[in-house]
Assembly symmetry: C2
DNA sequence: GTATCTGCAAAACATTTGCAATTCT
DNA sequence: AGAATTGCAAATGTTTTGCAGATAC
């Protein structure tokens, strides 16, 4: 699905009222360059090797800042661990119980036919499915 | 939306391979008699006044048992706090940022038109929207 | 030079685990 | 009595907070 392309991360952060510190730029770059919807711990472990002074607190602070300023979305794919996505456009997530992969998919909410929500202002949509992807179907659990 | 009506909770638990202890019956009864999709803490605080010896561990154990035996669903409405729903049928949740209420709605996944998932076995569907409900729209935040 | 940002250590939560006491049949 | 359940206390893991030092403009 959609890959996010941002030519100048520093300017992008500025345009969203975030001062582009070195840590913030690196964390955001990691977010747009990975498709894995990483956890705080994953981001920290990858970046600590390149930024030896990085602390987990900064990763937490930075991701909270991104979410507040709406350049990242907090995903509730797994309970007990927050995952983040720099793709803030409307899309769903599917997690395969076979291979564990989380993939994005497009959906069109207007087609849902949800009459209960007539007249409601829907501002945020989280759609998360899980099951078996095509290549894992038929295989035994791996 | 749908209210769950179960005439004999003990028998219902038995039919799902759960021994109907007093605590389990009371916790399940609370779950089907409330529409608030309660947290562990809410359940505990309500029931401790009626079952003075109740422990939070038992509430956790019991809810995990319910989820394993598929008579309750774990909701990811709020990150950092698990919420539970005894309605295991497919439906979505809408949380109003105005009044804070969580309401159920029906949706028809087959109408989504998600071609990416063709050939996938979708076993679980979590659909969570948030925004402003009709009566809160137009009001200032309350 | 002053605001802000960073990062350590400690605190605050939610949840799980080990185990002894209790309960049920 | 024997097996399962309960509940306390401690452990675990994630996230937040307080604050001192570092950094940036």
């Amino acid at each position: 699905m959609m890959k996010i392309v941002i030519d100048n991360v520093g300017e992008y952060l500025k345009s969203h009222n975030i001062k582009p510190s070195y840590q913030r730029i690196r964390i955001f770059e990691y977010l747009i360059n990975t498709t894995s919807h990483p956890t705080v711990d994953e981001i920290y472990k990858v970046l600590i090797s390149e930024i030896p002074t990085l602390s987990k607190t900064t990763v937490y602070n930075t991701l909270n800042l991104f979410v507040e300023n709406e350049i990242a979305k907090l995903l509730t794919i797994e309970e007990n661990e927050a995952r983040y996505d720099a793709n803030t456009g409307i899309h769903g997530h599917f997690k395969c119980d076979g291979c564990g992969e989380v993939m994005d998919f497009d959906f069109d909410f207007t087609k849902l036919g949800v009459s209960e929500l007539d007249g409601f202002q829907v501002k945020q949509q989280d759609v998360f499915f899980r099951g078996m992807c095509k290549s894992c179907s038929g295989k035994t659990k791996n």
